[in-house]
């Protein structure tokens, strides 16, 4: 039976998204619908995994298999899931607090491990769900509920960190420019390995500083400049650029991406693990026992 052609609204569930009106996460979600439709990913072949946060509510707002795990642990959960069933497209979604704060270790390790999942971070530079506390990506000096005198700490740079951690696909988008975002998602999903798409996704309720206007005044598209996406050092220069001009678009793509873990693990060369036989025959069992005799 030929599957009917999928369109963006096929991914829209009956449950309405309950983000604040104007929240950047809406744009992130609708761009994801479009990217999945463009790639004709069957909803049942898609697993969307998140942690906890406003942004992490996303799996509830897309028609696919979903996991709404615990704060900061979406990447390990998704890694286990992808290793268990490599046939599924796995997209991980979450916030800056979830991925760059509590889950930072897993973020770095997942990139180093090169598991074939696409990681979309809705970076609003604030903790939204917990009503407005400082985040690892909050700018120095920023006033939040927990930094009433201004943020005294430095800002985590996810793109530079991703470069240093061996990530093979590194992009930044802006939820105010969803068409551009769709392309970044599609390339990320098709990249054979870990792909990071950090998305400026304004929190209109708790981050009055990094507003749509603030981003619009600063962002420019790398595609419109002659940025060499395969050049690590050029990518690092772009990753470090911050201030009056902030680049969005594809920052880096490894021209020779190594095969991902879900391909190199010796148990995963055949069928997806979940469809493999789990029975061990009597001869093998006796050989195993004999190792102890």
């Amino acid at each position: 039976m030929a599957s009917p052609v999928l369109v963006a609204k096929d991914y829209k569930p009956e449950v309405p998204s309950d983000w604040c009106p104007g929240c950047g996460d809406f744009g992130v979600l609708t761009a994801l619908f479009q990217a999945c439709a463009d790639l004709q990913i069957q909803p049942h072949d898609l697993l969307v995994v998140s942690g906890i946060g406003c942004s992490s509510n996303l799996p509830g707002f897309i028609r696919s298999y979903g996991v709404h795990s615990i704060h900061g642990r979406a990447l390990p959960f998704a890694t286990g899931s992808k290793l268990a069933n490599g046939a599924m497209t796995v997209v991980v979604t979450g916030g800056d607090g979830d991925g760059y704060g509590i889950g930072l270790n897993h973020f770095i390790q997942a990139m180093r491990r090169n598991i074939n999942v696409t990681y979309i971070v809705m970076n609003n530079e604030i903790y939204g769900l917990t009503t407005g506390q400082v985040s690892p990506t909050s700018e120095p000096g920023m006033k939040t509920k927990t930094t009433p005198l201004g943020n005294l700490e430095g800002m985590l740079n996810p793109l530079a960190l991703a470069l240093a951690s061996g990530c093979g696909y590194i992009a930044r988008g802006f939820s105010g420019q969803p068409k551009h975002l769709v392309q970044l998602y599609k390339d990320g999903i098709q990249h054979p390995g870990f792909a990071l798409i950090d998305v400026f996704s304004p929190c209109v309720t708790f981050n009055k500083h990094n507003s749509y206007t603030w981003f619009r005044e600063r962002v420019y598209k790398l595609e419109e400049e002659d940025h060499e996406v395969g050049n690590f050092h050029a990518a690092m220069d772009k990753a470090l650029e911050w201030g009056d001009r902030i680049p969005i678009g594809l920052v880096y793509r490894n021209p020779k991406p190594p095969p991902p873990l879900d391909v190199t693990d010796p148990a995963l060369t055949g069928e997806p693990l979940v469809h493999q036989s789990y029975e061990i025959d009597g001869d093998t069992r006796r050989e195993l026992i004999q190792e102890f005799a």
Binding site: L47, T79, G80
Partner: protein, 621 residues
């Protein structure tokens, strides 16, 4: 009446090869039908320090390492000093006479057997481990056994290095011949027979048992005493088609494990208390998502880093309290090393059938110790019960919308593996309704919230009959019941036999399934008005409190141990006698009156200055 036995102690520094000497001995005896149980007391150093391996040999399978030593192989002066005093009358002490000498008189009727190692194994100057081989050869002779099996073990161990085989065979023969000419053999004769044995640690049995129970995914972060599970899996991954990963921390471990289980594979992970602490938040997630997962905590002496190389049963409260909120879980404590082999299959089956996390509480004693298991006990096909799992579908069930968390009379809802058409759902750590949609985001919904908590908890109402109930051993009408849980089964069983032989009247009830507890069976056994003595390897009586909370039963006495070393039969016998004598809590310790505090087996027992044991030979510097 009792089957003859010999307990061998091998002492040396880490790196001296005590383990491989012990292994050679165990395998060569196993090949002539003789069973063994090994316990290695060691410290957390890679080189140096002291390690003390005790192996109890008998044709009747020993269930613990016993409480004395008949033959000592001392690989250094320190070991000779520490352990010579422990030898029983009729015992023997083997050591390199060219290098070592006793610092004090041996206990009476103990035979000193110095071996002139440089003469017997000239290459020992280059290869100090040759002294071990000489000693093993000599001991084989003194045990009255032939050297053939020993040589077959060298052939198997060094199959790819014929030269090393030759070297070892030569050294073993030299030791064997020297002993036959110069020393008196042990009086005890073991009985060779046709039984075939495999020697494995609890860790290896947990790993192999899990693999044979269909485990396809194993993930861990190294932590003693659980690391060997990971190593077994890693070395068999490719051959058995199991995905085995070492990852960044135990938080990642458990979340990956749950992630893999969520997709429909059987996944397992193992750690010790510290790692288990990091896992606890996710265990609750498996509870509310109703994802099966098998998580092993190989307990070691805590709290915190505690004593990493020592055993304890003190993580019971941790297992009970792992994660916030009320949710169904199962906690199983294997009762022996062979039980470690069976427990993963039981754990996977209940995890799958009831869709919940199962915690296996093993401990260092079981997992780093090893015992011989009859090969036919291991050569079994485990039943695999995956419960209500849908692995194939073209569309929704009977045209109905699929409800992942359908509220059923049993509380169990059919679980579709992600990837199937027509069964889309979100598994959430937030409270959710039958269709998986979050309840946490509505203003309030007391009816549905309660419904979902009740649905999950209802699974526990039918689970007990799928789990091993405690069995009473010994005379049903005994005056005293010894009650234990987990790893202490073998040692309590033996202590009970000794007590009965000495005229006391005891039986033994042992609990493996801690959550849920077989309350009816336990109460029926314990309500005869007998004296109840709980024996556990912790300070506070964690099981005693659990029993009281669940059944209202208050034990009359307690024998506890938390000095890092495991119970030996004599500790339990003495402790139970004290309880019979009226004491409520008896704390026993691994050292004996009269042992020198500078070199005791345990850590630092009281040295009562017993004159008789003062050395007549001046101590070496």
């Amino acid at each position: 009446m009792s089957e003859p036995e010999v307990i061998v102690g091998i002492g040396g520094a880490a790196g001296d090869g005590t383990a491989s000497a012990g292994n050679t001995l165990v395998l060569s005896l196993a090949r002539q039908g003789i069973a063994s149980y090994s316990y290695n007391a060691y410290q957390s150093v890679i080189r140096g320090g002291h390690s003390w391996l005790r192996i109890r040999f008998s044709a009747k399978k020993p269930l613990n390492h016993g409480d004395q030593v008949n033959a000592l192989i001392a690989l250094n002066q320190d070991s000779l000093d520490r352990h010579l005093q422990e030898l029983q009358p009729g015992g023997i002490a083997l050591y390199n006479g060219a290098k070592l000498a006793p610092s004090y008189d041996p206990p009476s009727k103990v035979q000193l057997c110095p071996l002139p190692i440089p003469d017997l194994a000239p290459d020992s100057t280059r290869l100090p481990v040759m002294q071990n081989t000489v000693a093993v050869g000599a001991l084989t002779q003194l045990m009255g056994l032939s050297s053939g099996r020993l040589e077959s073990v060298f052939e198997a161990t060094f199959a790819k290095k014929p030269q090393v085989v030759q070297q070892n065979v030569k050294a073993a023969r030299a030791g064997y011949e020297y002993a036959s000419k110069n020393f008196n053999p042990l009086k005890t004769r073991l009985t060779p027979n046709d039984q075939t044995w495999a020697q494995a640690s609890g860790n290896h049995l947990l790993a192999m048992g899990a693999a044979l129970a269909g485990c396809k995914f194993y993930v861990a972060y190294p932590m003693s005493p659980a690391t060997h599970v990971l190593e077994w899996f890693a070395s068999h991954a490719q051959r058995l088609g199991i995905c085995v990963r070492q990852v960044e921390d135990e938080i990642s471990v458990v979340n990956m494990c749950i992630g893999a289980n969520h997709m429909g594979v059987r996944g397992m992970c193992a750690t010790s208390g510290g790692g288990f602490a990091l896992m606890t938040e996710a265990i609750g997630m498996a509870g509310i998502m109703e994802t099966p997962a098998v998580i092993i905590n190989v307990m070691r002496a805590g709290p915190s880093t505690g004593v990493p190389t020592k055993t304890e049963q003190a993580d019971l409260n941790q297992a009970f309290g792992a994660s916030q909120g009320d949710f169904p879980r199962v906690v199983l404590a294997p009762t022996s090393m062979s039980d470690c082999f069976v427990t993963p299959s039981q754990a996977f089956n209940v995890a799958d059938r009831f869709q919940l996390p199962v915690i296996i509480l093993a401990d260092l004693l079981l997992c780093e110790g090893s015992e011989t298991v009859a090969t036919e006990v291991l050569d079994v096909e485990f039943p695999i019960d995956r419960g209500e799992l849908i692995t194939k579908a073209d569309g929704p069930p009977d045209g109905e919308p699929y409800l992942r968390y359908k509220n059923t009379p049993s509380g169990i809802s059919t679980r579709a593996i992600p990837g199937l058409p027509g069964h889309l759902y979100v598994a959430a750590s937030d409270e959710h309704d039958e269709d998986g949609v979050l309840l946490s985001d509505v203003y309030t919904d007391p009816i549905r919230r309660k419904k979902m908590v009740d649905k999950r908890v209802r699974k526990m109402s039918t689970i007990l009959k799928h789990l091993p109930a405690p069995v009473l051993e010994g005379p049903a009408d005994a005056e005293t019941t010894l009650l234990g849980w987990g790893s202490t089964w073998g040692v309590i069983k033996e202590a009970a036999e000794q007590l009965n032989a000495a005229g006391d009247s005891v039986n033994h009830l042992h609990v493996k399934t801690l959550i849920p507890l077989h309350i009816d069976e336990i109460t029926a056994t314990l309500n005869r008005g007998q004296r109840i003595v709980i024996i556990e390897n912790n300070q506070s009586g964690q099981f005693a409190r659990h029993l009281r909370a669940e059944t209202g039963i208050v034990a009359h006495g307690h024998v506890r141990k938390y000095d890092g070393e495991p119970f030996e039969p004599k500790h339990i016998v003495a402790g139970v006698k004290d309880v019979i004598g009226g004491q409520e809590v008896v704390e026993v310790i691994s050292t004996e009156p009269g042992w020198r505090t500078d070199h005791p087996t345990g850590t630092s027992g009281a040295w009562d200055g017993l004159k008789a044991k003062k050395p007549s030979v001046p101590a070496k510097d």
